[in-house]
């Protein structure tokens, strides 16, 4: 379960997931809160991609558009991070930290986050996102994310955790 929207945390989560899947374990990755940023596409311009008129049913999986509010658009406009642009949890320095880290990782021949996400998906890692987070952040999972995901709730997470040998919340 990835709840952090930081580049360092996302790298750890995807590195472990792709590696363990390659070793022969079936991995399910969960995304909640700002963790969803790590698999988001760039929203581009304008800052808020779509206005959702209250009560109109344009929501995809996991969305309850009847209770949408304009504050969600404020949240979207403030949360501009996506898979190619995530901040570091420490030493961010307004984006200089991630830039430096990427430079080092490229020199070392390591896979960057978008590449790791692609490898994890190709190896068969399952992706699941929290339904309440999708609804709160007005995220359209079929359009806004770089991988195919299932929208699930705590009940599914409980079964996943109960049936697994290893669970990390990052």
């Amino acid at each position: 379960m990835l709840v952090s929207g930081s580049l360092d945390h996302a790298l750890v989560a995807f590195e472990i997931a792709a590696g363990m899947q390659a070793m022969g374990m079936q991995i399910t990755m969960w995304f909640a809160l700002l963790g969803i940023n790590s698999i988001r596409k760039s929203a581009g311009f304008p800052l808020v991609r779509r206005g959702v008129p209250k009560g109109e049913l344009v929501g995809g999986a996991g969305r309850n558009t009847g209770t949408d509010t304009a504050w969600q658009q404020v949240l979207q406009a403030a949360n501009r991070y996506h898979s190619k642009r995530l901040p570091l949890s420490r030493l961010n320095f307004l984006g200089a930290g991630p830039w430096l880290l990427r430079k080092i990782m490229r020199k070392k021949g390591m896979a960057e986050l978008p590449g790791l996400i692609g490898s994890a998906a190709a190896l068969g890692v399952r992706f699941r996102v929290c339904q309440t987070c999708v609804d709160t952040m007005a995220c359209e999972v079929s359009e806004d994310l770089v991988v195919d995901v299932e929208v699930c709730g705590v009940s599914r997470y409980t079964l996943d955790v109960r049936d697994s040998h290893y669970n990390a919340v990052i």
């Binding site: 792709a18 590696g19 899947q21 390659a22 070793m23 022969g24 390591m110 896979a111 490898s119």
Partner: protein
Amino acid sequence: MPLVRMAEAITAMQPGQVLKVTGDDPFFESGVRDYCLARGYDIVGASSDGRAITVLIRV
């Protein structure tokens, strides 16, 4: 990423074939050995030439 690269290569192989993997990471050989232990593959041979480490795996 040796684990991911190996897993990708092995999906395209038949049982009995031999995969030759080369890397320059200090932990490369131990990584390959752990991988083979987990997946049940045999290591046929291993050699190092300067920084390049080569391991042969029977799938």
